[in-house]
């Protein structure tokens, strides 16, 4: 199964096949189960002085979604990303991944779920400084019981597909900002995740590198994978096919180029 709308990177060309993953599900969107579902989720911080970061939010992330979550500072989009990434648990409401309530899972199971199903890209890259680019990408496969040789091969392949093969043995301090973000992208996709979550992925980049990274995000779309970008930049948000707007902890708009069922 191919996705004709994605843009390849290392291979070039607008119709290149996405480089990662064999589709895990087939069929049209209407039959598909959501990858992740938020049902009346709230998140409150603090004891004496309460901060309502999310208020009664419901959202379904479907396979094939290319979603941006936008909003001003303090709108709750970072908290939303934390909940979507199973990095945080809601104070109220339910979060389900593939139908499973994450609150019922213990920490090791939630961690394994994140490692297997979710790839993260952050504004500050968060590469481990004492590891090479190859080592950083390999780290994503470390907690999955994969042999060292296979880890290295897959990591090298991921870097090469993002045009970073010659830089595999360089440490983050030896890479430019754009290259570091591409290493972070390689780390996010080497596990062939069902969902890629990006927090302001172009926030620390110049316009040329930002455009390059956005092209890569577009190429990562696949029928069985969702790409979710959290951003305050409306231009970046405009590159996605579904835009969720947030304000004051609530979803105020959820607009798609084509309506998503459910």
């Amino acid at each position: 199964m191919t996705d004709g709308s994605s843009a390849g990177v290392a291979d070039g060309g607008p119709n290149a096949t996405p480089p990662y993953g064999v589709p895990r599900h087939s069929g049209n969107g209407a039959d598909q189960e959501p990858l992740l579902e938020l049902e009346s989720v709230s998140r409150v911080y603090g004891q004496e002085v309460k901060v309502h970061a999310l208020r009664d939010v419901s959202l379904k992330v479907m396979p094939g979604d290319f979603m941006s979550i936008v909003g001003p500072s303090g709108s709750g989009k970072s908290t939303m990303l934390g909940i979507l990434g199973v990095l945080d648990l809601p104070t109220a409401g339910t979060v389900r991944i593939a139908g499973q309530d994450v609150a019922e899972l213990d920490d090791p199971t939630r961690s394994r779920l994140r490692g297997n199903s979710i790839g993260f890209v952050f504004q500050q890259f968060h590469l481990i400084p004492h590891l090479t680019a190859l080592g950083n990408v390999e780290t994503a496969l470390l907690y999955r019981d994969i042999r060292p040789k296979e880890r290295q091969e897959r990591a090298r392949a991921a870097l090469e597909r993002l045009g970073l093969g010659p830089r595999a043995d360089h440490r983050p301090v030896q890479l430019s900002g754009g290259e570091q973000q591409r290493v972070a992208l390689a780390r996010a996709i080497v596990t062939d995740p069902l969902m890629i979550l990006a927090d302001e992925p172009t926030g620390a980049l110049d316009s040329h590198n930002a455009a390059h990274v956005l092209e890569i995000f577009q190429s990562l779309q696949a029928p069985n994978r969702a790409v979710v970008m959290v951003t305050h930049d409306l231009a970046v948000a405009g590159t996605a096919r579904r835009k969720v707007s947030m304000s004051d902890g609530r979803i105020v708009a959820d607009v798609a180029l084509a309506e998503v069922a459910g």
């Binding site: 970072s78 990095l87 090791p108 780290t139 907690y143 596990t191």
Partner: protein, 394 residues
């Protein structure tokens, strides 16, 4: 198994990334283990040297000194004190020396007034003194019966005074004693059990009486007892000499002093062990401090590892393994340094090296335990960090 190997690799790379910091926090275990290994090794090697010396010199020598009544200037024994002592059944051999006071000894004729200002002790000695002391001659011969029968003015120098006089082995030398010429016939070897003899010169009892005017009463007796009966003999000697009269005799067993020195070394060993334990404890506090700071500095790394699938236990274990490596490497290096110190000092002091290698794993194990305990708090802190706190989203 591969999961364990992976975690060990992650911990090792974390330490390798900060080599100077790792070396600094290893100092505690290194110093602690080195102190403990060298404390035990050095005291055992010194004790070994002492024991070797003692077994060479024997532990059965008793020195009896004449003690006088109040006001007596030169306390002495009766002239037959040696015979009296030889009546003690546990005495194997005995001899005597007599101090001859007021003698000006000059190393050569016409020597400077320095030697007049600092007179060397002159002693009259029996012909069997070296045999009783079990000390060899380093040059020439000891005084013998021919010296007495032929009225020869022979003198034997102690090793120390021979060096002071610049005497060369085999040299024909005359020394002046109160203006009388005496020929040097030999040099007595060092006497570890009574170092005062090293700086004395020895003449026959005949020469002492007839040339220098001594009264012939001995002041010291040197007695060898049967092995195992030294203490009892030491108690019997004053009675044998005084024959029931006022007890003016003090006895000492010189080897006891050496053994007391060995005991003092044992006390030093205990102090050094305590110092080593203190170094380990302080080192452990250092490890805990530095690892705690490291957790804060590496919060981004912790956050991303949690995001990509590491659970709390794996994060905690990663940091605990780093502490374990510090303790293990520190212990190994400390043991090597400690063994090196023992070999080095023993080479300088001419001791036989005595190291109980079986004890070294104990000290290393202690270093490991301290490091792991020190790493517990930072590990728990790392495991409890929430990824959202560390990834600075937004």
């Amino acid at each position: 198994m591969s999961e364990a190997r992976d975690l060990l690799g992650v911990a090792w790379s974390g330490l390798k990334a900060r080599k100077v910091r790792t070396l600094l926090i290893m100092l505690g275990p290194v110093i602690g283990v080195a102190a403990m290994v060298s404390a035990v090794g050095l005291t055992e090697s010194a004790k070994g040297a002492l024991q070797a010396q003692l077994s060479k010199l024997g532990t059965n020598l008793i020195i009896a000194q004449a003690g006088g009544t109040f006001g007596s200037q030169n306390p002495s024994f009766p002239t037959d004190a040696v015979e009296r002592v030889q009546n003690v059944s546990t005495v194997v051999s005995a001899t005597a020396t007599a101090n001859i006071s007021g003698v000006v000894a000059l190393p050569i004729q016409g020597a400077s007034s320095y030697y007049q200002a600092f007179p060397a002790p002159i002693r009259a000695a029996g012909t069997n003194l070296p045999a009783v002391l079990e000390v060899p001659m380093v040059d020439g011969r000891w005084l013998n019966s021919a010296d007495t029968q032929l009225h020869l003015r022979s003198v034997v120098l102690g090793e120390g005074i021979a060096k002071q006089y610049g005497y060369l082995p085999g040299e024909v030398r005359t020394v002046e004693l109160n203006g009388e010429n005496f020929g040097v016939v030999g040099v007595l070897g060092a006497v570890p059990l009574d170092p005062t003899l090293d700086n004395a010169a020895f003449i026959t009892e005949w020469a002492a009486k007839n040339v220098l005017g001594s009264n012939g009463h001995p002041n010291q007796l040197y007695i060898r007892s049967q092995p195992g009966a030294t203490q009892a003999t030491s108690k019997a000697v004053p009675t044998a000499i005084s024959l029931g009269g006022p007890d003016q005799v003090s006895t000492q067993i010189p080897s006891d002093a050496l053994q007391a020195q060995a005991q003092a070394n044992k006390t030093l060993q205990e102090v050094a062990l305590l110092a080593g334990l203190l170094a380990l404890t302080v080192g452990g506090i250092g490890i805990a401090n530095v690892m705690s700071i490291s957790v804060i500095q590496r919060s981004s790394e912790i956050g991303i590892r949690r995001a990509i699938g590491a659970n709390r236990a794996k994060i905690g274990l990663q940091f605990l393994l780093e502490s374990l490596f510090v303790g293990l490497l520190g212990g190994l290096l400390g043991a090597a340094v400690g063994v090196g110190i023992v070999y080095g000092v023993s080479a300088i002091a001419n001791w036989v090296v005595v190291i109980d290698y079986g004890q070294i794993p104990l000290w290393m194990g202690l270093a490991l335990l301290v490091a792991v305990v020190a790493g517990l708090y930072p590990s728990i802190k790392a495991a409890r960090l929430e990824p959202l706190e560390t990834l600075r989203l937004g």
